[in-house]
Amino acid sequence: MTQTREDVPLIFERSQPGRRGVTPPVTEGAPLETLLGREHLRSEPPRLPEVSELDLVRHYTNLAHRQFSIDGNVYPLGSCTMKYNPKVHEEAASLFSDVHPEQDDGSVQGTLGLLWHLARDLSEITGMDQVTLQPAAGAHGELTGILMIRAFHEANGEGAQRRTVIVPDAAHGTNPATAGMVGYDVVEVPTGEDGEVDVGALRAALGPDTAAVMLTNPSTVGIFEGRILEIAEAAHAVGAQVYYDGANLNAIVGKARPGDMGFDVVHLNLHKTFTTPHGGGGPGTGPVGVKAHLAPFLPGPVIEREGERYVVQEDRPNSVGRMRSHHGNVGNLVRAYAYIRSLGPDGLADVAEKAVLNANYLRKRLEEQGFSMAYDRTCMHEFVAQPPGELRTLDLAKALLDEGMHPMTVYFPLVVKEAMMVEPTETEALETLDAYAEALGRVTRRAQQDAEWLAGAPYMTPVRRLDEVLAARTPILRWTPSEAVDAVQGEAAD
């Protein structure tokens, strides 16, 4: 990232009436008024940017320079798995970008075959029996999974009886939000002193009304739920299903499988564990794996192999129904396939081992810098630290930006005060982790000396600390020409 402090105008503010960028092929013919009728045409054209191609290139190049990225520096957001996204995956995805989703099966055997093999690979990696590739994101996978669990209970005549979903208090917000979308009541169970879910409280919450238990393992505080087999057994004993939130699979990929732990449904975040790029917030991709008893409820369509041919199977009478258009985020599915086929089983286990090694190494390095750990034990791929003394996590995060490094996830999970959730991932070198710990130590020591400096940080970033209260109280959510005029006049008046 270039540390430029110059303002970048909006693309709309660069617009000059009549200026053109790229011209598309032009088809001569009758005017639209004749072909469509005036009543179907908009009364005024949309006010869209009119810029040259070079204007455009400069604009979005400059915006890119004002954007922190994993390609730029370490980005250890806990629970987000910001690992390196290999460039060869981009090449791989571009090979499959011009296929239309409604082509006859016979003309898309390459894509269909790739998807079929990917689903099989993911089944194998998670220890599940079948996988759907449809869901567009982790949360969308959760919705798919919980809908399938609901359909399963309905099919067993227990739909009316099973009304609750149990989640730990440290769970990702998507877990209760998903349960809410499916009409379930959410029961939260506490996290114990050791960072694992309170199994006693979980057992007490289980009952004939429980539809599902949703767990992340390792949990959102980076601790493996060591009693997972017991938890799954207890849930199954009351007829509940056990759901695996795959956000933290990077800790155990290739080393242990949710399917072997007793989970009935698993969603994966391909944009985390399987390194499809985050793209500034998406697209993600959230395949869902199930055990055989839930397979009839998988969303349609599914891709099946018939002899040497791959076919799209749409006839699924017990399915929860379609979750989205077409087959999934195929561009990302291709990237994930490339990753799995590059690494193989040993390479995947190496991912988990190095992710856990790096997290524990950085945990020690941060302890040396005076940070305390919310749970003082070996962590998996991430850990939750707390700042020394009375310092606030938010301030330290802002100060760290001036060191050219991205802060960890802050204030999550909610159960830890001033939480700093750190996930370095396996692709960072130890020197980078050393530098990160030293930078955090440096800003912490200065913060302890100079509260005023801390409150004003950051100083070097393209913009300084932003007024989020103003943004929320007086929302400005789009550019408008009149406002631009007002702003100019305001400046003139100054």
Partner: protein
């Protein structure tokens, strides 16, 4: 391949700092019977072998034949510069902009995106994207149920069948009824009593390609206290009546036609744009303008208290990851082409679609058009099962023949699509292939 940087010395150093002898000691919390299962997938391979394998697969896909498929995903011109700029590694490899001071690039691009969508739809408030068109339809219905506290949805059969399927999936667990309005003469009749209806949902151009007359739906919904939801093709909005002009409360749709590759159906992006009163009900992320400590303009994610990471069980939706990069790609594409370029593409699409329909009529085929005008697509009667026709057309080297479902009551029929890229030789190939498979 490995992307882990650790040398043997690194591993030894790290273990020493941590204070354990072996990496496996770090997995001590995992019950031993779970550790190190056999995972039956192929061994890893180097980049050369990997690309060879992928190219071998890609060669089995037809990506070059004459192309007449649509139904929500179309082949349009995408300038080289669009992909180049959208795929800059800073955009591609960044996370959700939780630290706005170092994320102004993505946040400003998102603010520009929201403005583009507001301009195209004629409605004021766009979120920062949904997954796709189908899920945006479902989320619009849920929004309407929340906002009106009514539980009946009326949806036109002209809404893409897949969108209606997703809508059915999303409302299945809820106490919400969905009624479908049959088309008459290829367009949706304005329904009568909407007094208990949360939303009436109409797509234009609809699944048969016909352009709906939208304003009467807006008026009927307003009078009955229902919300009017339009499902739009954003490229068409460069020239067609905007949802805002038609009195829509919520405009949704799939953004693929704004410069996102077909990619076998994804990732594209969905959009959702609403009126002011619905702001607080809007699911998904929003970028907002504010000022920094020096009073300079900057952008942040805002109104996050609606979202799952804060509201948890009471969030407006569980959506977290959106389709940010595809939305930014569309923004860049719109700016690359400008209003004039988009208009020319829309014009080319309309002209080529009309020319294709006329050519087929001249050749003696049974083009099924109602009295409403078409935008990019229309249906064509075929003498046999449309899936068979599609297979046979593909076998003759023409990508055409999207089957029209029987629910439309058109008999055996296929949907044909043209865009500004449709060429005369493609049309000739289609005509000749159609003659062979239908004779």
């Amino acid at each position: 391949m490995r992307y882990t940087p650790h040398t043997e010395q690194d591993v030894a150093k790290a273990l020493d700092v941590i204070g354990v002898d072996d990496v496996n000691a770090l997995f001590a919390d995992v019950p031993s019977e779970l550790l190190d299962p056999v995972i039956d997938i192929p061994e890893g391979r180097d980049e050369v072998r990997l690309l060879q394998d992928l190219k071998a697969l890609a060669r089995q896909d037809d990506t070059t034949s004459p192309h007449f498929l649509g139904g929500g995903v179309r082949r349009h011109f995408i300038p080289t510069v669009t992909r180049h700029l959208a795929m800059q590694s800073e955009f591609v490899t960044s996370y959700t902009p939780y630290q706005p001071e170092v994320s102004q690039g993505m946040l400003q691009a998102t603010f520009e995106y929201q403005t583009v969508m507001a301009e195209l739809t004629g409605l004021p408030i766009s979120n920062a994207s949904m997954y796709d068109g189908a899920t945006s339809v479902a989320e619009a219905a849920l929004l309407a149920v929340r906002a009106t506290k009514r539980n009946r949805i009326v949806v036109s059969r002209g809404v893409h069948p897949q969108s209606r399927e997703v809508l059915a999936t999303y409302v299945a667990p809820l106490d919400v009824r969905v009624d479908v309005l049959d088309l008459e003469d290829h367009v949706t009749p304005v329904p009568g009593d909407l007094s208990d209806v949360a939303a009436v949902i109409v797509q234009s151009p609809n699944h048969l390609g016909a352009i709906e007359t939208l304003p009467p739906f807006g008026r009927a919904a307003r009078e009955a206290g229902a919300l009017f939801v339009t499902v739009s093709d954003p490229l068409a909005l460069a020239v067609l009546t905007s949802p805002g002009e038609a009195g829509a409360d919520i405009a949704v749709g799939d953004g693929q036609t704004l410069g996102v590759p077909q990619q076998f159906g994804g990732p594209h992006f969905g959009f959702m744009v609403v009126t002011e009163p619905l702001l607080r009900q809007l699911p998904g992320r929003l970028a907002g303008q504010t000022v920094d400590a020096d009073g300079r303009r900057g952008f942040v994610l805002t109104l996050q208290a609606r979202e799952q990471h804060i509201r948890r069980g009471k969030a407006k939706s569980n959506i977290c990851s959106n389709h940010q990069l595809a939305a930014v790609m569309a923004t860049i594409n719109v700016a690359a082409l400008g209003p004039q370029g988009l208009r020319e593409m829309a014009e080319g699409t309309v002209r080529n679609a009309h020319a294709l329909a006329e050519r087929l009529e001249r050749e003696g085929f049974d083009v099924l058009r109602g009295s409403a005008p078409i935008f990019a697509e229309f249906s064509l009667a075929v003498p046999r099962d449309p899936k068979t026709i599609r297979r046979e057309l593909h076998a003759k080297g023409v990508r055409a023949g999207l089957p029209i479902p029987s629910e439309y009551g058109l008999g055996d029929a296929i949907l044909l699509t043209a865009t500004e890229l449709t060429e005369t030789h493609e049309v000739d190939a289609l005509v000749s292939a159609l003659k062979e498979v239908t004779s």
